[in-house]
Symmetry: C2
Subunit: 197 residues, 2 copies
């Protein structure tokens, strides 16, 4: 039984929904936005700052320019945030029986053998349908929203892990939720989590 399941996902692929369902089926804790709060209390940084910066590679957004200074340990604000994020994710994993969505958890927990690392993706058309259904229309075209969001996740992942986001070798299993369907993705992940030592 794998005690920790990390789910990385393209925006609009249904990765969060899959994560929630997997947690429900396995009776695991589900962590997504809750992690932000934990990082805030760990680091003393504000939730909004963490939310903004945990999604951006340092230097890719104008806000980070205000924080290029270093603290008394010589750490930049991004190093400091990353350290707090690693601590929070490791603490959650140590408790076990959990699903963690996003936040480079696959990389942070690389050395643990009780994890199943998952990546979920889908083609653009399916993701556009999904985000319009879930979040409604905005002034920004859905395709542009998706590309922007994924670009940030990719840059953030590259910066902190030096790996390519979405490369199959980073994960134990990757799934095309558009072709396989949300429910079947949930089943495949739950069965693997149960079957693997």
């Amino acid at each position: 039984m794998k005690k920790v399941i990390t789910i990385s996902r393209e925006f609009g692929s249904g990765g969060r929904t899959i994560g929630k369902e997997v947690a429900k089926k396995l009776g695991y804790e589900y962590y997504d936005k809750e992690i932000i709060e934990k990082i805030a209390s760990e680091s003393g940084l504000s939730k909004s700052f963490i939310e903004e910066n945990a999604e951006h590679a340092p230097g890719t957004n104008i806000f980070s320019y205000a924080f290029v200074g270093r603290n008394e340990n010589g750490e930049s604000i991004s190093d400091y945030l990353w350290k707090a994020q690693c601590k929070v994710i490791n603490d959650i994993a140590e408790k076990g029986n959990c699903v963690i969505v996003g936040r480079c958890a696959d990389y942070i927990l690389l050395d643990r053998i009780d994890c199943l690392h998952v990546f979920v993706h889908a083609d653009m058309e399916k993701r556009i349908d999904r985000i319009i259904n879930l979040y409604g229309e905005t002034n920004e075209k859905p395709e542009k929203r998706i590309i922007k969001k994924d670009k940030k996740r990719k840059a953030n992942y590259k910066y902190y892990t030096d790996r390519t986001w979405g490369m199959s070798q980073n994960y134990h299993i990757t799934l095309d939720s558009g072709v396989i369907g949300i429910d079947k993705c949930v089943d495949v992940i739950c069965n693997l989590a149960k079957d693997l030592k």
Copy 2:
């Protein structure tokens, strides 16, 4: 039921074994080296030439320099070989109920909706063990053999498809056979092939 299963794989990951087992379980035809013979009879090129060049991106090996000329249709030898390969793969898929290993079949059959596209990988240590068990020791270090082989596959895939070999978005499912195990990979693929429309 998916009628065509393509399996791309890292060298030493057990992708061929998985492909054979999947074909056996589903009662499908299995195509791997048989494709070389079909391309030979389709193109009139020799098996050894095809074997050498189907694995190399044009220009990455010394043999291809001997064939940089173009035929009466203005095609280079690589274009000609690729066209024959596409025809053979499409013909096999058209017959249905088959497993095709390698040869960029995931890309060639991109427009068919009756396919399940799979990529299999494993970490270096597991692959080294596997190739020593299967093929024995050679003068060349196993790690070097693996890196060389994968480098060629990657370059070949990039040249013909303009996509990155191993990127999860190219496949419906990717599996780490080292962690999941060969038998369970076979089960997951067979179940998906049966369950999906």
